[in-house]
Amino acid sequence: MRLAPASMPWFAAHEARLMWRDGIAMLTGGYPARRIALTIFVIVVAIVLHLMANAIVGPWVEHGIAPDKATLVAITGTGFLFWTVMLSQALESVTRAYYSRADLDLILSSPASSHTLFAVRTGITAATTLLLACLLASPVVDVLVLHDGAHWLTAYLVLAALSALSTALAVLITVALFRLAGPRRTRLFAQIIAALVGAGFVIGIQAIAILHFGNMASRFALFGDPDFIAAMPPLDSLVWAPARAVLGDWPSLVGVVALGALGLGGTIAFAASSFGRHAIAAAGIGQQQVARRARPVHFRPRSQKQQLRVKEWKLLARDPWLLSQTLMQVLYLLPPALYLWISYGQSAGTYVVVIPVLVMATGQLSGGLSWLAISGEDAHDLVVTAPVPPAAVTQAKIEAVATVVLVLLAPIIILMLFASLHLAATTAVFAALSSGSATAIQLWFRVPMRRAMFRRRQVASRVSTIAEALSSIFWAGTAVLVAGDQYTIAALPGTLALVTLAIAWWLSPKGRRV
């Protein structure tokens, strides 16, 4: 069947084809043969996640799940945390839809309707947000379906409604920012909001971990607290509608799904008319020659390495996407952090929950920043043709990254010092190891690319991406065991981290670039 050009299905098919090809290229690095390996990898990961979910959820389901207030509080709390992730992701995607040029110039300069394009792109944002939520929630939902019945499948419909609502809210926030702050500041403010929402999730997931998987007597911090539950609205309150829908209550389900559909549809209808105008305003930012005051020029005496470090800091500070990108990396790593804590951190005190998160986040942050500094060099030829020893260039860039990581991590370590010298020292040591490992991996697999390619850096090497993630996870595991004084067992993940690094080095391209 031939779709009418520039119609909504036609745009949707076009977008879907681009997304599919983009996704496959990103995951396979352009090598079709890797699809089989990728499929096997996805299946293995899915099985492992389902087994983990089974171990966690199984005991809870054994005694039956009563639709009492405690259950509703637990489900609503968990759902809200999921929703904050969705909102953070949606806000980032919606902002990108307005600011990323790509084919937008072509489409906006054509007679095709920008309203239609906006509706399609907003719908796709909702779909990708749902996909992320399903990836995170599906192991738990599937296990619940297996143990407690098919009515838990309604959780997916609730997730779809939450995705629609988060996308709608993200669009409304973006439009409001355009109107209040203007196109130049909207992107920055949207990232800050996404970061704040994400930070809420970080704090919240720890509370959920304490609630569901920790020592109930000591770690039932918020949702399990009887006073907190008692203070919540009564059972018949509309607040619990999403949780009731998850539990299979059909009237609640219909209400929640209708709210999601109407919310998204209404928002698209409201915001579509201004999309073209805002997108064109956003596009004009690059062309606007802002009348900056001609400040007195003063070239400072700096060594070559100082010049390189200062340049890296300036570029990092001025990178419009860095905030959201690094934050999202940290967010995606929380489930494994949670798993580590569940498995090993039972006797090391409440602070132990923070350590794996910090160690992994440091590793991922260092990996991202190292990529920007080492591979994402926009003037690669300039730096290579400068009379600076290559080792000095690399050293200066690593120092620039390490300084940023240190500045971010130091205040947390200092705060931890007040609680425990042992835990603070453990976090500092393993965060340094995690950071150093990620940086080393980026160095071994460096491929010069434009900084704008940051989001697609995984394309350069799947091995480096996986090695970076594994080393962070293993160092986090080692840290949490050392924090819990389980030194003998800690040798296992520590060894695995070193083995990961050794394999990464072995697989890295050894022919040094100029």
């Binding site: 802002v290 001609a294 020029v297 070239f299 340049k311 030829d381 300039l382 009379p387 100029v514």
Partner: protein, 261 residues
């Protein structure tokens, strides 16, 4: 520039392969203070040759000497007197022209006061003054290329290597860039440039080298190249004749007109 002028660039037996040989036993000499244009069809190996001179690629065989400095033995010494400008401007979107020039001057270890004065002079010379405090992200291709050129000149190189520097520039920007290069040659700087705009080579270059299949198939002044093909014609005709002649011969058979220069 005289025949006894010292060599700015001396290439002996240069070779480089990727999936196939790209540069084969290349011998090339450029005198100090000369404006030398390197011509050749797409894929002839021009950019590869220049990237090896600039230290962006490692040769597989042969030697490159810049003002007597062996680039393999003393790469930093050679780099300190070379500037490289490619067709894709090597400029940071999020730095202003002044910040960029400060960074470049710092990399080349230029005294800040001297660099600052020179940067201000270059920015005025290239017509960048109204944009000197704006980030380069919104600049046109021509403006970016001028910023890159200012970066190449801010450290006073003795040899400037340019790979298709006029690609995508409007007439005004192209004229400014050409004038800056001619002025530099007058000051004694050596310029080596690849270009597909044969008119530019014809008007600006003192000597022209024609590369095909990674070898120098002809070299000389415009008059010498005309004499080589035996008729008074344009550089475009000469270039096409030389390349066709070499293709018909089944490979690089010709020798340089001015091999002894």
């Amino acid at each position: 520039m005289t025949d006894s002028a010292p060599l700015a660039l001396d290439i002996e037996g240069l070779a480089k392969s990727f999936d196939r040989p790209v540069v084969k036993d290349l011998h090339l000499r450029v005198k100090a203070g000369e404006f030398y244009a390197l011509l050749g069809p797409n894929g002839a190996g021009k950019t590869t040759i220049l990237r090896m001179v600039a230290g962006l690629l490692q040769p597989e065989a042969g030697a490159i000497s810049v003002f007597g400095i062996d680039t393999r033995k003393d790469p930093l010494g050679a780099k300190s007197i070379i500037a490289w400008v490619s067709d894709e401007p090597m400029v940071y979107d999020r730095l202003t022209p002044y910040e960029y020039l400060e960074f470049v001057a710092g990399l080349w270890g230029i005294d800040p006061a001297r660099a600052q004065a020179h940067a201000t002079e270059l920015i005025g010379w290239l017509g960048l003054a109204p944009h000197a405090h704006q980030r380069c992200g919104g600049f046109s291709k021509g403006m970016l290329q001028k910023v890159a050129l200012a970066g190449a000149l801010v450290h006073d190189p003795r040899l400037i290597i340019l790979d298709e520097p006029l690609t995508g520039l409007d007439a005004g920007s192209a004229r400014q860039v050409k004038q800056v290069l001619l002025d530099k040659v007058k000051q004694g700087v050596t310029v080596i440039m690849t270009t597909h705009i044969l008119e530019v080579a014809e008007r600006m270059a003192e000597r022209i080298g024609v590369i095909n299949h990674g070898r120098l198939v002809a070299e000389g002044t415009l008059a010498e190249l005309r004499a080589r093909i035996g008729r008074e014609t344009t550089l475009e005709e000469i270039f096409l004749d030389l390349v066709a002649e070499e293709e018909m011969a089944g490979g690089p058979a010709a020798t340089a007109v001015d091999a002894a220069a």
